[in-house]
Structure formats: structure tokens, C-alpha cells
Symmetry: C2
Subunit: 762 residues, 2 copies
């Protein structure tokens, strides 16, 4: 844990007291989003202290020309940068002509931020004395509408406390923004039109190269007692920004508020030449509801989300806050309403990593969305990859693969690869397996087998072809081997026979063969169509069988474990527990070659395989592997502790599972990795959800049935969660006394608890 300033609270994230050193961290932690857009918790008024400004629009990116030291054949031309979008939240404030800036105020008191996760709003209040000695109180409330997802609302209230004062509000929108993360300082945005209409203003811009058209807009009015001013006193238009001025003489102790609506209309949803019109329509809708009406809507919309996805924990506020923060952020990032979007690793909270889609989506996020939303949402995530199949085939062709072999990109926005480290881009190919696994996982959980004949089988064939071409026969071992890969543990590069990748490849080949047989029997028309389209022949499937049967897996007789890769035992096997604490995190203390030579594991690798394919192994085997690999794992990836939490729970090691749970659920709140300023770890948050549901709850799907082995950490009195499972909503409640299972409606459901079948009725 590297920080502990966040107040414990079951439903809110709360910071008290103003500290300039925490501003950037809090800008990340208090971020808000609604799936279509999002923003860091930047101040509305000017702030001259250190800050990281960020507003983001889903799906809008810039293909920043690749920057490398030394070019390698096969590198992609660009890296998709997450774009800082024009700012619509800005409200400059002056008190008797003195600009309000927290960095120059004195006597800052009662500073508080609250992110109310239950209701979906963010509020900041403080009392401060301006350089001209006016003490004021500010209460600024902001939210991004879930129901009108192009618009956000701000209620910015000022009270002069020690004198009457002239309060001037200057709400503005500003396209003069830059990215912190930029390869060549390219200009990312081009602004083509700035205009106003009464108390509304509009900036039309488009991104360079990708040409996404965006209209950034706002509307503002002032409220003082019964007075509502919706005509600005003046208009300031500059080259890249536009703003209004509203001023008001305010009596000591009285409140004046500026209400502002703003946001973006984008050409993903509207015609490019109708964006301003669409903005007008959106503003008409929200202003007819008013700030309070909108906030009511927002509370209801979040209540609907929580109704299904909340996990309640009693007896441990920090644990409760952690899981809700994770669920809240996942829902702020992706709501499953648009199959063109996906779940970026930093969501709408920062620029780092770029792109929007990693294997995180399939390996970590899918189970969360599958169980807490309508299953259509999970299907959309699968379809996203089907839509990119052609580009995955092109990507594989660039690397020399042929005949429809598909390699999905490591990082992408539109299906094209945009990462450029050879050891990752070309070698961290296990991502392909996670995409196949997600198809299996979806079918297993939902029993919706229609995705495979409609779309999934083509994806599986492309992936199977890739694996078959990616291995080679080793005459020496009399087995197929896979050389030059990087497993999930990125602290190893370019290794041979990474067990996880080999195992996943073998499984993909077998699963594809199974699904081919299934589609042939059950959907002969689809089968014919797909065979025609892919030109798949018996010689190929014969080869797949052969590769699957003769795949090589490194194994240590001495330790009784599969080896993470060839040569793992040559390492200097000092356990993490015996490392000097000063050396950690090793990624901040050691040179890259030293990390690579060491046995230390960044995130679950062999154990990731044991997680995916748990039922292929005995508990004894799991235990051996867990004991061996956990002792070398440093968990310097956000995606690591959740898998270990699930497995520790499975092995009945609840204290250890609880420690992993806290680490994953409060990773950002407590800033374990010393980097929360850069944004939140959104995708790993789904792993936190899994830690409870699959870890403590022991939820699995076996033989088509939902099974549980419920446990509870000794620190907790109770926890409960719901699962959307094949048209029923199952509620699971676990206390120290035992577990309770309920369904609300629908057909009876047979589940298995601690290996005993139980039938539930509504």
C-alpha cells in the first residue's frame, strides 16, 4: 500500500483536506464516465498547480506514427493514442475581479471530494480565502448522464462568506488541448468551426488522420435566489475556445450557482454535418429536465445497475468500498450498448497504454459482464472480435502466416495491431487463445450455442490455423514445440515452450475440432457456408489433431510441476519472500536484463492456465503448482492477484486469498503500484469481481450447472452477489453461518453447492 488518504465508506470515495501532492492521484480516483465519454476529476475553475487534464470520448483515437529506436520487420505503422478531447467542463470564476485558483488561495478548509458510487455523481466542496481576502465556499457537483450519454451536468455553487462580492462565472469550451502521451508532438485535432447561439456554444473539430468528427458543446445559466439568468453578459471567442460571462453581485452568506450542461456529439452516432443539430437536440432534452431532474434520472439509472451488479460485504468497510469502486468503474467504462466499443485498460481515466482492446477483455472482463448484464452484452464483446477477423488474418499475413491464419492484435482500436515491442507484438501470442477461450466460456455459461455457427467458428478456424503454423516439429523431442513466445508473465521474453501458450494452443485446436463437428451435425448449412468460405480441408484438420496430440510440455519430475518454459529451472531460484524489500517493485529497481534472468513472475502464467482449465487438473496438482509459482510471483501486473486469490480460496487458504483480494480490489485506492496518477487499472477490476464470485463464492460452471463452494473470510460477516444466469437472477448470500441461494423468477434452477445438487424455485 502506498497511500491511505481515501476515507473508508461503503458507497462513496471520499477525500478530505486539500493537498497539492494528491491532486493528480485524486483526478484519477474521482474520474467519472458513462460508457460514451469520461473525464478525470479536473477542477472546473482554473488551477495553476500540477494537474493532468483529461477528457475522453469512446472510440475516438489518433494513429500516432510508430516511434522505435530500431525498426524490426513487421512493426505496425502506428500506435492508437487515447485522445485528450476538447474540454467542456471549464468554468473560470472571479471574485471581485480576482480569479479563483486553489493554488493561490489561503486558509483552505473543509476541502472534500466525494464520488458517490451509488448515485453516480461527483462533488467537491471547499472554503477558501482568495488573494483579495474574500472567503468563499464552493460546492461543485458533476455527473455524466447514463440515460443521455452525450451530456454531462455541472452545478457550481459559490457563497461569499465574509462580505458581499461580485461573482463572475466564465463557462467555456476549449479545443486548445494536447496529449501528455504523444510520439512526435503531432497536432491531433483540427478545429473547423466555433459558434454560439444564446447561452449555447459549439466547437466543431475532427481528429487528424482518423477524421472523427466531434461537436463539443455547452449551455449555461446562472441561478441566484429566484433569479435565473440565461443570457450571458458577454461572449469571448478565441481561436480554439469560446466562453460566456455571467456575473452577479452576491450578498454575504447567499449562494449563487452556475449550471452548465456540456458534452460531445460524434459522427459514430450522427451524420458528420448534423453534429451541432444533434447537440441542440441533446441540450433541449436535458435542459427540459433541469439539473435536479437529470440527477434523479442518474440515481435511478445507477440503481438499476447496482440492483444487478452490486456485491455487498458486511463487517469490512475497506473491502466493501474496494469492490464497489471496481464495479462502479467497470460500468463507467463500458455498458455493452455498442459492439464497436471495448474496454480500454485505463478506461476514461488516463492516456497510458493507448488502444482500447487487450486480451484483458476476454480473459478478465467477459465473465463480469456476462454475469451482471443481459447476455447480449457478452455476445457483443465476442462479436467485436468477429468483426476484426479479417484484420487479424491480415496481421498474421504481415508476419508470414498464410491460408487464413489469424493473429489478433495485442492492442487495437479497429482490429489493426498498434503495439511495437517485438517481444510483445510478435510473441505475446497467447492473446489469440484467450479469444477462443472466451467463445467457450460464453457458450458454457449461457448455453447460447448460436454464436459458434453464426460467427465464432470462423474465428476459431483462423486461430487454429495460426497455432498449427506457429509450432514446428522438433525431431529432437519428437514433439511439436513453440519457439520464441512471451507468455502472460512479461518478465520473460522470447522463451521456448511457454507451458501456458502451448497448453492453450493445444486446447484451441481440440476445441475448434469439436466445434466443427458440432456445427456439422447441428447446423449443416452454416457448416457448408463456413467450409466454403474458409476452404478448410481434411488434411488441415488432420494436422490440427496431430499437433494437439503431440504438443510438447516442459515438465520437472523433481518438482512435479509443469515448467513455465524451457530452462526455468536454470534460474537462481530465490523466493520472493527472501528478496530484500528495498529491491521491490523490481520493475522500478532492476535493469531489464536482470528482471529477465530472474525467476520472478509479473503475473499468473502457468497458474493462468490452471485457472482457465482448472478441471483438467487435480487439486493436488493445483496445490503443487500454486506453491511453486506463487513463491516467485511479484504481482507487478494489476492482472495477477485476482487469479491467485481465486486459487488460494480453492485451496482453502482463505487468509492468503483475502490478502490477494484486498490487493486487487484496492490496487488504485491504495496505489499499490505507485502510478495511480496516470489513471486507473480498469480491466483488472473485473478480476476483483471474480475474486469474490469465483474465489470466495467458488462459482464454476460444470456439466452445464452452476456450482458453488462458498467460503467467507473471517474478517467478514456477510457478502452477497447476484448472477444473471440463463434468464434467472440468482442471489447468493454467504455468512459465517452458511450460504443462501435464491432465484427471483423464472424456471426452477438446479445448482450444486459443495458438490450437493440443490433445486431452486422462484
Amino acid at each position: 500500500m502506498n497511500q491511505d488518504y481515501i476515507q473508508s465508506n461503503p458507497w462513496s470515495i471520499i477525500e478530505e483536506g486539500f493537498d497539492k501532492e494528491r491532486v493528480k492521484s485524486s483526478e484519477s480516483l474521482f474520474s467519472i464516465g458513462n460508457g460514451a465519454m469520461g473525464q478525470r476529476a479536473n477542477f472546473e475553475e482554473s488551477y495553476s498547480g500540477p494537474t493532468f487534464q483529461g477528457s475522453y470520448i469512446a472510440g475516438v483515437y489518433y494513429p500516432d506514427k510508430t516511434r522505435v529506436g530500431w525498426w524490426k520487420n513487421g512493426y505496425p505503422e502506428y500506435f492508437a493514442k487515447v485522445l485528450n478531447a476538447p474540454n467542456w467542463i471549464g468554468i473560470d470564476v472571479s471574485i471581485n475581479g480576482e480569479p479563483l485558483d486553489l493554488a493561490t488561495c489561503t486558509n483552505i478548509k473543509n476541502f472534500k471530494r466525494e464520488l458517490n458510487m451509488k448515485e453516480g455523481w461527483y462533488r467537491r466542496n471547499f472554503i477558501a480565502t482568495t488573494p483579495n481576502n474574500i472567503e468563499i465556499e464552493v460546492v461543485a457537483t458533476r455527473f455524466l448522464n447514463l440515460s443521455h450519454d452525450e451530456v454531462g451536468a455541472i452545478h457550481y455553487q459559490v457563497t461569499p462568506l465574509n462580505a458581499d462580492a461580485e461573482i463572475l462565472f466564465k463557462p467555456y469550451i476549449d479545443a486548445g488541448i494536447t496529449n501528455e502521451d504523444s510520439n512526435w508532438d503531432d497536432k491531433f485535432w483540427n478545429t473547423t468551426n466555433i459558434k454560439s447561439d444564446k447561452n449555447r456554444a459549439f466547437i466543431e473539430s475532427h481528429t487528424m488522420k482518423t477524421n472523427f468528427n466531434v461537436c463539443t458543446f455547452m449551455q449555461a445559466h446562472l441561478v441566484y435566489g429566484d433569479t435565473i439568468k440565461d443570457t450571458p453578459h458577454s461572449l469571448n471567442q478565441e481561436e480554439l475556445s469560446i466562453g460566456f460571462e455571467f456575473s452577479q453581485k452576491v450578498k454575504k452568506g447567499e449562494k449563487v450557482s452556475l449550471v452548465k450542461y456540456g458534452g460531445y456529439t460524434v459522427d459514430r452516432n450522427h451524420k458528420a454535418d448534423k453534429l451541432t443539430e444533434a447537440a441542440h437536440t441533446a441540450l433541449d432534452q436535458v435542459s427540459s429536465l433541469g439539473f435536479d431532474g437529470l440527477l434523479e434520472e442518474q440515481k435511478k439509472a445507477w440503481a438499476r445497475i447496482w440492483e444487478m451488479s452490486d456485491i455487498a460485504i458486511q463487517g469490512d468497510v475497506k473491502a466493501q468500498q474496494g469492490i464497489r469502486f471496481n464495479i462502479f468503474q467497470l460500468n463507467q467504462t463500458y455498458l455493452g450498448t455498442d459492439s464497436r466499443l471495448n474496454i480500454g485498460p485505463k478506461g476514461f481515466t488516463g492516456e497510458k497504454y493507448g488502444g482500447s482492446t487487450y486480451w484483458d477483455t476476454e480473459a478478465y472482463c467477459l465473465p463480469f459482464y456476462m454475469a451482471t448484464k443481459n447476455q447480449e452484452v457478452a455476445r457483443k464483446l465476442l462479436k467485436y472480435r468477429y468483426n476484426h477477423l479479417e484484420k487479424a488474418i491480415e496481421n498474421a499475413e504481415k508476419l508470414g502466416f498464410t491460408n487464413g491464419a489469424a493473429l489478433y492484435p495485442m492492442v487495437t482500436m479497429n482490429g489493426e495491431e498498434c503495439h511495437n515491442e517485438w517481444e510483445i507484438t510478435f510473441e505475446e501470442i497467447h492473446r489469440n487463445g484467450a479469444i477462443a477461450y472466451a467463445i467457450f466460456n460464453y457458450s458454457r455459461y449461457t448455453q447460447d450455442y448460436s454464436y459458434v455457427p453464426e460467427m465464432g467458428l470462423e474465428v476459431l478456424i483462423g486461430i487454429a490455423r495460426f497455432w498449427q503454423q506457429r509450432v514446428n516439429w522438433s525431431a529432437h523431442r519428437n514433439r511439436y514445440v513453440m519457439l520464441g513466445v512471451t507468455g502472460p508473465n512479461e518478465y520473460e521474453n522470447n522463451v521456448n515452450n511457454n507451458w501456458y501458450t502451448n497448453y492453450l494452443a493445444k486446447w484451441c485446436l481440440e476445441y475448434t475440432l469439436e466445434q466443427l463437428e458440432y456445427v456439422q451435425q447441428e447446423h449443416p448449412n452454416d457448416y457448408k457456408r463456413i467450409l466454403d468460405k474458409t476452404q478448410l480441408g481434411n488434411d488441415e484438420t488432420g494436422l490440427w489433431k496431430k499437433v494437439a496430440t503431440h504438443m510438447y510440455f516442459p515438465y520437472s519430475e523433481e518438482h512435479g510441476v509443469y515448467l513455465q518454459q524451457d530452462g526455468f529451472l536454470d534460474k537462481d531460484l530465490i523466493r520472493v519472500a527472501d528478496l530484500d524489500k528495498k529491491e521491490r517493485p523490481i520493475n522500478q529497481h532492476w535493469s531489464w536484463d536482470r528482471i529477465l534472468r530472474s525467476p520472478y513472475i509479473k503475473q499468473a502464467d502457468t497458474l493462468q492456465g490452471f485457472y482457465f482449465f482448472e478441471d483438467h487438473f487435480t487439486n493436488k496438482e493445483l496445490e503443487k503448482h500454486f506453491d511453486f509459482y506463487e513463491s516467485f510471483t511479484v504481482h507487478e501486473s494489476s492482472l495477477s492477484p485476482c487469479v491467485h486469490a481465486i486459487q488460494a480460496a480453492k485451496l482453502g487458504r482463505m487468509e492468503q486469498a483475502y490478502t490477494f483480494y484486498l490487493r486487487t480490489s484496492r490496487l488504485d485506492l491504495d496505489d499499490y503500484n505507485k502510478e495511480v496518477e496516470e489513471g486507473l487499472h480498469i480491466t483488472s477490476m473485473a478480476g476483483t469481481w471474480m475474486s469474490i464470485v469465483e474465489g470466495f463464492g467458488g462459482m464454476r460452471v460444470k456439466d452445464g450447472k452452476l456450482c458453488f463452494t462458498p467460503q467467507i473470510p473471517e474478517q467478514w460477516d456477510m457478502y452477497s452477489f447476484k448472477l444473471n444466469f440463463r434468464n434467472r437472477v440468482l442471489k447468493v448470500t454467504v455468512t459465517q453461518e452458511g450460504a443462501e441461494f435464491k432465484i427471483d423468477e423464472g424456471e426452477a434452477l438446479e445448482i450444486v453447492v459443495d458438490d450437493k445438487p440443490i433445486t431452486l424455485s422462484a
Copy 2:
């Protein structure tokens, strides 16, 4: 072979006919240099066609901020860029007011370039018709003085052939130059002063960051019959350049010439504020000699070089031209007069690779300089690394090594590492071994054992410490292993137990222990001094012994060969001969991951070890290894064919050796690697010399004696070379009939020919 336009000639490189497509290649091939500076064969007059402009000053570089896609801990801050220096060769020419530009002339006839290697000059002549229909003949001769190495001379002669004409010469110097290779488009040079004095002009500049001060200067005069004009008609001074105008009405058929001297004075040799003064002095000296006098000096200086270093071949002009081109370029690049300088991989012919010093110097260049120059030159190369020892220790510390362990940089200008690919910078550590080997090689050849106690032992201790810390004990193998390295074959990255590196490390440890003992016995005072300085203890040397004794070497019982690295036999072992020719060179056709997975070897790796330590292995062993590895070697490094040539000759496979010899000696002339435009492969040229002396001549030093097993390719009638060996000059002549050995003077010398001892007297 990818081009064949260079005319065969024993002493000259000749191009005939003008072809715009060849300009950049010829600019490389006809480059001239004198160890202190050098330049590509750019035209003196303006040329609007494609060209790659380059003038370089030895030791003057710019630390260009590192550019990477993804930063890795340990990367250096900068990459040392070879700098394009201010241009001093420019002479713009106008004919009746029409600028001369070969790209706009018609009827270009008799175009010829000649690089006369025997005498050290470059000439270009042509007849062309200008757009205003004047047919002119141009003969431009240029050379960089060996004896006055700050100055070059140009004699530029124009003859109007079809009419009288007004010829205007505008000699200039120009600091408004840029680099082709630049990470961030930084400004590399800052110009502080431009001035003229009669027919002399000076530009004072310094490099940014490194602050190398340089005065670029020129002097010019016109010669028409008996008329000499040394007062310019006018002066053009601009922000970054300065030039004169000399004009002359010339009668049809008469010659007019512009004679220009120019070059650089640098603060490595003069006080920074006396550079213009030094330039005046240099110009005084050369102008007193005159162009013809200087050229005479140049011929004599080159004759002295050739006297010792020439290899004569009879019966095969291409082979003869190839070896002389190689020897000529090596001498143009480095003459051994300054221990602060070294041998850049492109010499003065291009910018690629940056830096100046690679392991090429020790592994390839040292033997050439040792045998063809005074042995002080080789000693200077060793001393260069001694001077960098402290920085090599700092470099190792950055990567986590301690206690004086030294890692010499992969690429350097001043001892600091400046390369930034993790797989090279951190892992291609065998370079350390080559530096130790060079000390051994020098002592063995010269019997000068004084370098070790004076300087070498400290270097060896630093290197031994590095190896001992870089290995780790593998409990599994009961041996020391070395993980995460890149061998000389850069088509493998981050491998374990690269045989060459392990072997070299073991040898370094043993050699250091031997030398410690030798210094202890023979130079007790030095021993004490060094032990005090390095704080070396018995526990350390004990550990070195243990590591050397228990080093692991991967070996295949099946093939009877040491394996290039762990897992080599897992590869798909298709021989190069069975590869589709269209796929080659693989580095231009395959993605990086495919290259890495393949068995193909860029340059001698295991065989490099057999080259260094030939006497550790039997001929039978060499043959097995050669047959195994040669079949997978693609020789896509310039440093590869020479080692294979030597070993093929050793195995009596003369036809194969001859093929390798041609490939190495004519690599650039015939542009085997399709990249000669970027500059020449200077360091590999020393390998060509070794191919003849050590390959065909079979020269070795064994038991302190020079040994030969002379052979001759059937294509040749004769070849001969000289060796400077312990104060004698030995001349070796080999014909189809036999070999002849002579010494010119000095004590009698016992050599061994075909295992038979022979005593030579002067």
C-alpha cells in the same frame, strides 16, 4: 552480387558512364578519408538529383537523445550520432550564367570516376552540354592529405569545347547542413563566427551538447594559362555559409581551373580559441607546397602504407581489386596516430550505426593493424579500452553489477554505452570477451608483455568480475549457466547458455587468473598496485576458478557438436541450401519473430569461438561444427564470411574459401547486402585481410612462433603479403608451385611452414 558496374582494375576503383540511380552508391564507394576526416564522393558543383551528402570529422559526435517506443530500465540517455560536418568541398560553377548541374545537362559523355588507391586520390571527369548549349569538359581531382591531415585539396578544371564561355566558380564553405540520421531533428551544430581574409574563409562552429569546436576553412585561386587569380571578384556571406566568386572568360578549347584547399581544425588538437589561427597555419603550409607538391606528398605517403600493407594477387583482377579496396579503406579510416580515436563501422562513409567503437575493433581490426603497422598502433587500440575502464564499470553498475565489474559498451564514442535495444545493449555481452581476447592476441603476436601489468590486468579483472556475477548456479544442472544473452548471431535474442559467450567467459576467467599469476611473479610492484586499487581478494579468484571449472556448455551427442545455445535442436532445421531463394536475404523478407524462431545464423557464432580458440579443438571437431553450422548460416552480417573463409581454408575446402573470400572482399563493390548507398562496411574489411593471411596463408602464432600452412585458390597465379612481426618484416609469397618466405632485416626468425620449422635470415 547486386551490382557490377565497378570496372575491374588492380589499383583503381572505376565507374564509367553517368547513371543517376548509381550516384548514392558511388558516393559511398568513392569516399576518401585520411584518419582525421573523410567524406563521401559528393560532387563539388550543385547537383539536384538524389544524393546523400556527408563530411565527417574523426571523434566529433552528437549525443542524440535516445528514442525508443517503450523505455526499459537501464537504457542509456543518448545515442552517439556520427555528424555530418560543414561542407568544405563545394564549388558552384556557372557557364555563361547557367549553373552547372549534372541532373539538368544533356549529352553527358565520358563520365568517369576513378579512385586511385595506389596514390590516394579521387578524380571525376565528364563532358556535358549545359541547358544553354555550351559543351564543357570537367576534370575534378580531390584528395585528403595524409601528411597534413587537416587539409584536403581540389583541382577543378573546366574546358568549354564548342564556344568561348564565361566560367564563374563559386567556391564556398557551408555550415547549413543536416544529418540524415537524427532522432528528434535536433540542431546539431551552432555556428558562431563567419569570416574571410583575402582568398581564405572560415566558419567557426561547435556541436551542441558535446561542444566540439571546429573551424571549417578554405582557400581558393583560379588558374587560366599563366594567369593566377588569387583575389576573388566578390564575396557572398550568408547566415551559415560563405563563398567567393572567381570568373574568367575562357576561349573554346582552353582549360581553366579552380584550386581549392579546405578542411577542419578541431579543438582535440588545438586550443578552442586558436582554431582559425591553426587553419591559417595549415593553409600556409599546403599553399606553399601547391596542389602538385601536395599530390606528390600524398603519393609518397600512400606508397609507404602500401609498402607494408599491400596484398598482391596475380591472375584474378577482381580479387586483387577487392583486397586493395579493403586495405585502402581501413587506412583511410584509422591510421593509429591517436589513441582517442577508433574504427567506426562505416568509417567516414555514412552515418549508420553511429558511435565509433564496436567489438569489431578487437575481434576483426586489431590483427590487421597489428601486422601491417608498428605494434604501437595495436597497443593504442588496447589503451583506448583501458581509458574507458571506469566508464565500463559505471555501465555495469547501472545494470546492477557491483564491486568493479566492467561491462564495455556495445557502441561508444567516449566509453559510455549509447545503444538502445535491450537484447543488444544488455545482452550482447560477449563484446566484453573480445576485449580480453585482444589483450591475449596482442601479447601472443608481439610478445610485448608490458601492456598487461601496465594497464591490461585491470581491464581483465573488471571483465572477470562481470562474468562471475553474470552467471548463476543452476542447481538443476549442477553447473554455472548464463541466461539471457545475445551471441554474435543477432538472429537469436535473449537465449540461455550461448556456447560462444559461455566459452569466452570461462576463458576470460582462466586467462585473468593466469595473468594475475604472471604479474605477481614478474611485476610484483604492479601486482601490489593493482591489488590495492581493485581490492581483489582470494575469495574472488577462488570463485572465478570455480565458475570456470563448472561452466555449462550445451552439447548434442547426436550431432557431436556444441549447441549454439540451449534449445537450438528444437528448431525446424531446414538448411539454407533448401530455402527458397526468393526469401533471401531473410532480414528483408521475414518478420523479426520468424527470423528468431528459425535456425538461420546471421554471422559466425559457435564458429567464432572455434576461430578464436582453434587450438582448443581438433580438426575433426572443427569440421563437424563447420559442417553443422555453415549449413544454417546466411551471412547477412558483413562480419561473417571472413571467419568461414578462414575455416574452410583450414579444412582444405579451397573452392568454398574462395567464394567466401570474394563475398567478403567485394561486399561493397558488388553490394551483396543491397545497402552500399548508406556507406561502406569498414570493420569487416579487416576480416578480408584475415581471409587471405590466416585463411589462404594459414598464418597462426603457436608456441610463440609464426606458423603457416600456405594454400592458393586455383583461380590465382600468386599472392603475397607482408607481416610486421617483432621488428622484422616478413614477406610471404605463394604461387601454385609453392611458398616463399623472406625477411628484409633484423635478427633471424624461426617460422613453421606446414609443421616444419624454417629459419629465415635477412
